[in-house]
């Protein structure tokens, strides 16, 4: 069986779910940030795969990946800044301690 679209999709699904699992079980903000990056990457793989395997005349999929990476980079920057802020204010990076929005 040749490697096709489905393989890539399954791989990305796997990566995505691992990232999700990490996101849900970890308590360290950095760790959560890393998991999010993992999930974003999983999505990007899909873009690349669609662009490659589907009949498409140009590289629109890859352009989308560029935007996605841009957004991810911005997100990391802001996310890290937020973590610093939180660390500064709460003296912790453990997400359980940060529940001011509790109803």
């Amino acid at each position: 069986m040749t490697v096709g679209m489905t393989h890539f999709l399954i791989l990305s699904a796997l990566l995505f779910c691992i990232g999700l699992y990490g996101l849900l079980v970890k308590r360290n903000l950095f760790s959560i940030l890393m998991c999010i990056e993992l999930m974003l990457n999983a999505v990007n793989i899909n873009f690349a795969a669609f662009n490659y395997f589907l009949p498409m005349p140009d590289l629109s999929g890859q352009v989308m990946m560029i935007f996605s990476i841009t957004v991810a980079a911005a997100e990391v920057a802001v996310g890290l800044a937020l973590i610093f802020r939180i660390y500064h204010d709460f003296a912790t990076v453990n997400i359980d301690k940060i529940n001011n929005m509790k109803g």
Binding site: T6, L24, V25, A49, A72
Partner: protein
């Protein structure tokens, strides 16, 4: 590209990526996780290269494996207080729930992916990807491109303001 090599390379990269991803969440030491993340990103870059996205593979390595991971590690350093040994443990109480949710999602996704029959005969085989990308970015996607630029700028400013602390003047 040869089909056989393609297959081998795919599986190789895939196994590395999944293992590294698992490593990211399995490691108890945060720094180790970060290193696994870098490995995972490199493997994904390999996948990109396989999919005729060589420019993006380079970007992936530069931005993710290079910058992002390093940034994260730096951040970890700056907020470190005690030993890194048990800095990244899983919360025991939420493992079950998280596993269920993730597996559910996985099953759903797999169900969909396995049941959709894609026609993957044609292969997008543009050689000059950098040129083609540049062409697209500056013509059809120019507005989005500019907006992305503004987004980055504002993210940068926002990050600086946030990290510096607005109330400290």
């Amino acid at each position: 590209m040869n089909d056989g090599i393609f297959t081998v390379m795919f599986y190789l990269a895939a196994i590395i990526a999944v293992t590294a991803a698992w490593g990211v969440i399995y490691c108890k030491n945060l720094v180790h996780s970060a290193l696994f993340l870098a490995l995972c990103f490199i493997a994904v870059a390999g996948l990109y290269a396989l999919l005729n996205a060589d420019f993006l593979a380079a970007v992936q390595i530069m931005v993710y494996a290079g910058t992002v991971v390093i940034l994260i590690v730096l951040g970890i350093m700056m907020t470190r207080r005690v030993s890194m040994d048990r800095s990244n443990v899983m919360e025991k109480s939420s493992i079950l729930g998280a596993a269920v949710v993730s597996l559910l999602l996985l099953v759903c996704l797999l169900l969909i992916f396995l049941n959709v029959s894609f026609v993957d005969s044609a292969v997008n085989d543009i050689q000059d990807t950098v040129g083609a990308l540049a062409q697209l970015l500056l013509t059809h996607y120019v507005l989005a491109f500019e907006i992305a630029a503004v987004l980055l700028l504002s993210a940068m400013i926002g990050a600086i303001v946030l990290a510096k602390g607005a109330d400290e003047k």
